[in-house]
Symmetry: C2
Subunit: 225 residues, 2 copies
């Protein structure tokens, strides 16, 4: 089975993207990036998801994006709540160049494990308007990757898999449920309470709730809490 490096955040998108690529016959090497999130708790969810997927290995790499700042997720800028989600406006939860940093690390590790495939849960439909989730961005990264590494020089270019790119959140949830995924293992909130409960009002909570509602399913994370 060919190997794929999957960026795993502990959220439902990356879990579903990983499961879809696994179904297509890839052996998963899960990569989680500790980037100075406000809530390091996220990594616990990524570990659970990696175990549930039966990933061959799970690597956690630290990069100190809090030193760089510029985002509500890496500095003390407040997370916006009850925002009218308009993808024409980039919100303060955007982390400068986050996906470029994450994909770079995935590219590095792919080279080490001999993988020619990278999986990212990026979505350009029910999303917050981040520039680095757009199809043209991912295509540009794939072109860069083909030139960036030993594999590229040797003529084995790298593929970026973003199976959720054009799916609605409801479609993502339906696809995951049909694969038997347990979304109770995942976490989406940008600003959970001290007890870890989702705030219910940040973009990520709003998009998740809308997705479950449209899919006609119950969110096991909410029903359990």
């Amino acid at each position: 089975m060919p190997s794929a490096v999957v960026l795993l955040s502990g959220g439902l998108d990356s879990y579903t993207a990983a499961a879809l690529v696994q179904r297509d016959g890839f052996d998963l090497h899960a990569l989680s990036v500790l980037y100075g999130q406000r809530h390091l708790r996220e990594i616990e969810f990524a570990r659970r998801v990696a175990r549930a997927l039966g990933a061959r290995q799970h690597l956690e790499v630290s990069v100190d994006l809090a030193r760089i700042g510029g985002s509500a997720l890496t500095s003390d800028i407040p997370v916006p709540k009850e925002r009218a989600i308009d993808t024409a406006e980039i919100p303060t939860t955007y982390v400068p160049a986050r996906n470029t940093v994450f994909l770079s690390l995935a590219l590095a590790w792919a080279e080490v494990v001999g993988a020619h495939d990278i999986v990212i849960g990026a979505n350009a439909l029910d999303y917050s308007g981040y520039p680095d989730c757009r199809p043209e961005y991912l295509e540009a990264f794939e072109r860069l990757a083909a030139l960036a590494t030993r594999a590229g020089v040797e003529g084995a270019p790298l593929r970026i898999h973003a199976p959720l790119l054009h799916m609605s959140k409801a479609d993502i949830i339906r696809a995951g449920l049909s694969l038997g995924l347990d979304y109770g293992l995942t976490h989406s909130c940008y600003d959970p309470g001290p007890d870890g409960r989702p705030c219910g009002a940040c973009d990520s909570c709003v998009l998740r709730a809308k997705g479950f509602a449209e899919a006609g399913a119950e969110d096991p994370l909410i029903s359990a809490s």
Copy 2:
């Protein structure tokens, strides 16, 4: 004066690249990446160089590439010595996707400080044959950067400056000396002794010595030791 983010390693290439861009009218924001180098001492040289340049600020960001490994510079693979430098073969000192990781971090910080210019000391002539030092790689990164960030979306694309790209090491040293740079502040060795002295036999030492010899100049780092 427009701002530029410069990747500063403490070596002579990035020092010279920074000085050339500064001469062209840019205000420098120096960025050094602590990536699990065998010799963290490098950062001391980067600090000295940033001070000598009068950089507006100097940010040090950690990213744990040692977790990823795959290189003589991030793992216990020995650094090759007295190697016949042949750029058709990628040596073990190549760090998987290093420049992609570094440029991603520079891109993130550029967005935060409002810079539209990034400087890298990449050189594709007297170099070790790393894939991510080639002109086509840097062009692909520039295209990616134009799509990756808020600035790109708003129509202000980012420029990658690699002023040394087509210069020989001797040309680089001549250019730096004519700008009055003190190469005694810099450090190039991949495998210094416990006392910090350059080994004299790794690619980086060999290319540096060849450059000084061809430029008809004395290396202040060697003459001082």
